[in-house]
Amino acid sequence: MIEFTLDRKSGTATYAQIVQQVEHALRAGLLTYGDQLPTAREVVARLAINPNTVLRAYRELEQRGLVEARPGLGTFVRRSLARPHNPRLEAGLLAWVSEARAAGLGPDDMRSLLESALTGHLRQADTA
């Protein structure tokens, strides 16, 4: 069972934060097929938020095909987003991190490099 937390200053709507946290848990493998999400009552009794907000988040997750509501039982995971473990990819990434560290890059430098690579900006810089 996972627990939700709220970032009240983030500006992201509360229901969207719940959706994001479930998706993240699905990607990270913290939630897998058949797992139950906390009930609306459990969530609101801890976060002091409107129960409708939780139900709305769950409806959205249901529409995306990630969970299903079983009346009287609760809301359950239908589909995992976890990628299968890939040792070669992970080893390559670890090698890259140590090479970057040796080159004097800090964590923020690495993150921004990865971000550039993901958004496609890195290639432009190379060819320029």
Partner: protein, 295 residues
């Protein structure tokens, strides 16, 4: 179903109108924030809603019926001072609730107090402010009312107790699906809790409707002084320096004016904007319909 409906509702005390020309429609299952400055008419509106006062003009209906006589079974009220008998124990208080309310759910009330760690043997006067609030809310919930009205439920509580009282109230809403009307001064606290707003000011309803819809319709416009941005909107409040104008507007369509910056607002900003503008009653009819009426 409509939980709360007011048509032309007004209340006069002597020659002073505490509330005037109120039109409201609130759907069932909402958690309604009733906000406004002191003396705005919040308490009068709550008293009319729970049948403690009768309207001078117009009508108020709770789940389709006026809140008097038999219909009072469907309404619960927690006054700000949380009136409980200090010499009663918690158990005696529950017994009183059971005697006074035909549909009282004693087992659920006991379970709830047990979850909250409030001993049944304690005298009311020995409880903390937060615990007294929890007992008062437990009584109201156990009445199995469809609408529960709370006047400043968090006033005089420390931050932890405020959070705990809200947690308990939201859990009760999750259990029962009841409609909640609560008044408060602290808008930031209502953000994650309420989905409907009634803003009263000077005895009138300034804004009422779905909170997301209200926030979505308002923007802050910042631009050069002495000009006005192009586009369909109503100005709620306005502040001007020598060079710059800042407008809080209610939009009726998109605003595209390159000289003006358009900024999104939080609920608190919108509410404060209306409160500041309470003397300039130049707005068109102030009711914003519920989301289902807008599409």
């Amino acid at each position: 179903m409509t939980a709360l409906e007011a048509t032309g509702l007004g209340k006069r005390y002597g020659d002073k109108w505490a509330l005037k020309d109120v039109f409201l429609t609130v759907p069932e299952g909402r958690i309604i924030a009733l906000v406004g400055p002191n003396g705005a008419g919040k308490t009068t509106l709550m008293n009319l809603t729970v049948g403690l006062r009768r309207p001078t003009t117009g009508q108020i209906h709770v789940f389709g019926r006026p809140p008097y006589g038999e219909s009072l079974q469907h309404v619960a009220f927690v006054a700000q001072e949380k009136p409980l008998y200090p010499e009663f124990t918690v158990a005696e208080t529950l017994r009183l609730g059971e005697r006074l309310n035909p549909r009282f759910d004693q087992p659920a009330a006991r379970t709830r107090l047990d979850e909250l760690g409030i001993p049944l043997k304690s005298k009311i006067r020995a409880l903390s402010g937060g615990q007294r609030a929890q007992v008062a809310i437990t009584l109201a919930v156990a009445k199995r009312a469809e609408l529960i009205v709370l006047d400043e439920p968090l006033a005089n509580l420390d931050p932890l107790a405020r959070h705990e009282v809200m947690e308990g109230l939201m859990a009760a809403v999750a259990d029962t699906g009841m409609t909640v009307l609560l008044s408060s001064h602290v808008i930031a606290e209502l953000n994650d809790v309420c989905d409907h707003l009634i803003l009263v000011s000077g005895g009138r309803v300034q804004v009422a409707g779905d909170i997301e819809d209200i926030v979505h319709r308002h923007r802050l416009l910042v631009g050069p002084a002495g000009t006005a941005p192009a586009g369909p909107y109503d100005v709620v409040s306005e502040r001007t320096t020598e060079r710059q104008s800042t407008l809080l507007v209610r939009m009726r369509g998109p605003i595209h004016d390159p000289r003006w910056t358009v900024r999104d607002l939080a609920l608190e900003d919108v509410v404060l904007g209306y409160m500041r503008a309470r003397d300039s009653v130049h707005l068109p009819p102030p009711t914003i319909a519920g989301t289902e009426d807008v599409a």
